[in-house]
């Protein structure tokens, strides 16, 4: 039973200091969770900490591989709208990534 951070993570550091098990660590290209240490905060907190502060929908998966914060759950942006603009957003995101790696 452990969470997993995936590539949509933006490296904002918010989760790292909150983890009661120090399971989260900085890595390249994004933060990672040590599955051996992660307890999903059971016994420490009512709500898992990393998934309660993470601002990026879909960036953390549960042990079944499902996003803990699905698309639309945090921002309230309707899925149709996101889909409609997805190409433009992908381009922006790619440009940002390219700028960083350049």
């Amino acid at each position: 039973m452990a969470f997993e951070i995936i590539e949509t993570c933006v490296n904002c550091y918010a989760c790292e200091p909150l983890c009661p098990n120090q399971a989260i660590y900085q890595a390249s290209p994004h933060f990672l969770i040590n599955p051996d240490k992660c307890t999903e905060c059971i016994g420490d907190y009512m709500d898992a900490q990393c998934t309660s502060i993470c601002p990026i929908e879909g960036a953390i998966l549960d042990d079944l591989g499902n996003p803990v914060n699905p698309i639309g759950s945090l921002t309230g942006i309707p899925m149709e709208l996101l889909a409609q603009y997805q190409t433009a957003l992908d381009a922006t995101y790619q440009a940002a990534l390219d700028a960083k790696t350049a």
Partner: protein, 502 residues
């Protein structure tokens, strides 16, 4: 009537086209503040309209984490080509940040202020933020430190803030009503929980107000930033202005919402429009009866470097400063000289201004003259308070309003430079269209030089290009052009304007 134009102690009674405290060709919005506060802000570009022509600031992006979500922010798309808050190109460690600050301070001696503004919330990253402040206050004691926050963690940070001699704090307060807040903040992270909607907004508002009171009780200067979101908090911000003033905030900065679909923000994708230039000015004027308004904010990035309106961040990326050898004690000497030079320059200007103020005050005694209508003028400048930028090179214009009451600074408008140099002017046409659209409402465009090609289209759009006042102080030039317009009979008040001015 007390002439507000050049009067440092202008009060709210002054009506007409100029009912703000910030009014005045001579003084900036801080004119009426007590001396000890003026001393604290006289060289702070984000707090003093006058200072922003001379002094530079920088932000270091050491604080990536955030504890709330705002509908105008999206942390996913940090693009180096965008100039808006919340955006950075590289997050720095405190050590890297200190190195960068000292490199910039040595190379741009006019840089007086270091702010930590994100890209997340500085107080949601207390270790990184305070480590940076601690080291800087030791190594570069001639740099002012300030911080910008959403306020959620402010009360618990006040003690630590006051330890580091930070005497400027900016809080972004968009509302004092949780029902309004629920439309701006989808969630906050509070006491180890994500709290959604109205409940979260209510906690945020409570913390912001508590933090504001704690800071002002300690004599720390607080500026309040508000994002104007039409239909959401626009009318409400008048109330916000009153409330924060009553709790001791000394400056209110109402900024326009930035929302484009390609930013991927809630407001951007939902098609929430930002305010027009006119609506923003109207709201700023409405708040101005109660509060000093800041009108020169450029909504800069969390890693901006340079004078407001310019960003020299690319000259100071980590790989570039890695090789720089900085002799800070030597740099401090040079910096002190440059600051003294600017201070002398400002003093001379103040004296000239005071002399002129008297003259205008005498002339102002006879108020039977015909009413003249206010005129907006756009000014191209690269700093120093003078008209010293070519029309084609300006990436922004400052907007001034001249009226029978004098001249006042209204704000700025960003654009695309008409030509980046001699060679590219041929296809500069669409950039010109952007400039003409952005400068709507302005009747005069003052710049150090303007080419033949844009001249015609500007005139056709009702904007008179004017390159005759190159290198002159902005306010003098605006007043001179206004007087010329008056002499040419171009200022006869239209009935509706007369009504407004009455």
């Amino acid at each position: 009537m007390d002439l507000p134009v050049l009067n440092a102690s202008a009060t709210a009674e002054t009506g007409g086209g100029c009912d703000s405290h910030s009014c005045g060709s001579s003084d900036d919005q801080l004119g009426h503040l007590p001396e000890h506060i003026r001393a604290k802000v006289h060289n702070h570009p984000c707090y003093s309209e006058q200072a922003h022509h001379y002094f530079a600031r920088m932000h270091v992006a050491v604080a990536p984490a955030c504890n709330i979500q705002c509908h105008y922010c999206n942390r996913k798309y940090d693009c180096s080509n965008e100039s808006r808050p919340g955006v950075v190109s590289e997050v720095l460690t405190p050590d890297q940040a200190v190195k960068k600050v000292m490199a910039v301070a040595a190379n741009i001696p006019q840089m007086t202020v270091l702010g930590i503004a994100g890209p997340g919330d500085p107080l949601a990253n207390p270790e990184r933020t305070f480590a940076t402040f601690r080291e800087l206050s030791e190594k570069a004691p001639d740099i002012k430190l300030c911080v910008s926050t959403n306020g959620l963690s402010l009360p618990e940070s006040v003690e630590e803030l006051s330890k580091h001699n930070i005497d400027h704090v900016t809080i972004t307060i968009n509302c004092v009503d949780p029902d309004v807040g629920a439309k701006i903040y989808p969630w906050i992270f509070w006491n180890n929980k994500r709290i959604m909607g109205r409940e979260g907004a209510a906690i945020l508002i409570e913390q912001q107000q508590k933090g504001l009171e704690m800071l002002t009780a300690r004599g720390i200067l607080v500026k309040v930033n508000s994002v104007m979101i039409p239909g959401v908090n626009d009318e409400h911000l008048v109330e916000v202005s009153k409330v924060v003033k009553s709790k001791g905030a000394f400056l209110h900065n109402v900024m326009p919402l930035i929302a484009e679909p390609e930013h991927g923000t809630f407001y951007g994708l939902m098609g929430q429009p930002g305010p027009t230039h006119e609506d923003l000015q109207k709201l700023q004027d409405a708040c101005a009866g109660d509060m000093n308004m800041m009108r020169h904010c450029r909504q800069c990035r969390a890693d901006a470097v340079g004078l407001l309106g310019e960003d020299r961040g690319q000259e100071f990326t980590m790989d570039k400063i890695e090789d720089m050898e900085i002799d800070y004690p030597a740099a401090m000497v040079k910096r002190a000289e440059v600051h003294a030079q600017i201070a002398r320059e400002l003093e001379i200007k103040d004296q000239a201004r005071a002399a002129k103020a008297e003259l205008v005050a005498i002339q102002g005694q006879k108020k039977d003259g015909p009413k003249t209508r206010p005129v907006l003028m756009a000014v191209a400048t690269k700093g120093g308070g003078v008209i010293n930028e070519h029309f084609g090179h300006a990436s922004e214009f400052l907007i001034y309003e001249a009226s029978e009451f004098g001249v006042r600074f209204i704000g700025h408008r960003k654009t695309i430079p008409y030509c980046e140099g001699g060679d590219t002017c041929g296809d500069g046409e669409s950039a010109l269209d952007v400039t003409i659209r952005e400068l709507s409402g302005c009747e005069v465009v003052l710049c150090s030089k303007v080419g033949y090609e844009p001249w015609g289209p500007l005139e056709a759009a009702g904007m008179q290009p004017n390159g005759e006042h190159a290198m002159e102080p902005i306010e003098d030039a605006v007043l001179a052009v206004y007087a010329e317009m008056g002499a040419a009979g171009k200022l006869d008040a239209k009935p509706e304007l007369q009504q407004k001015a009455a």
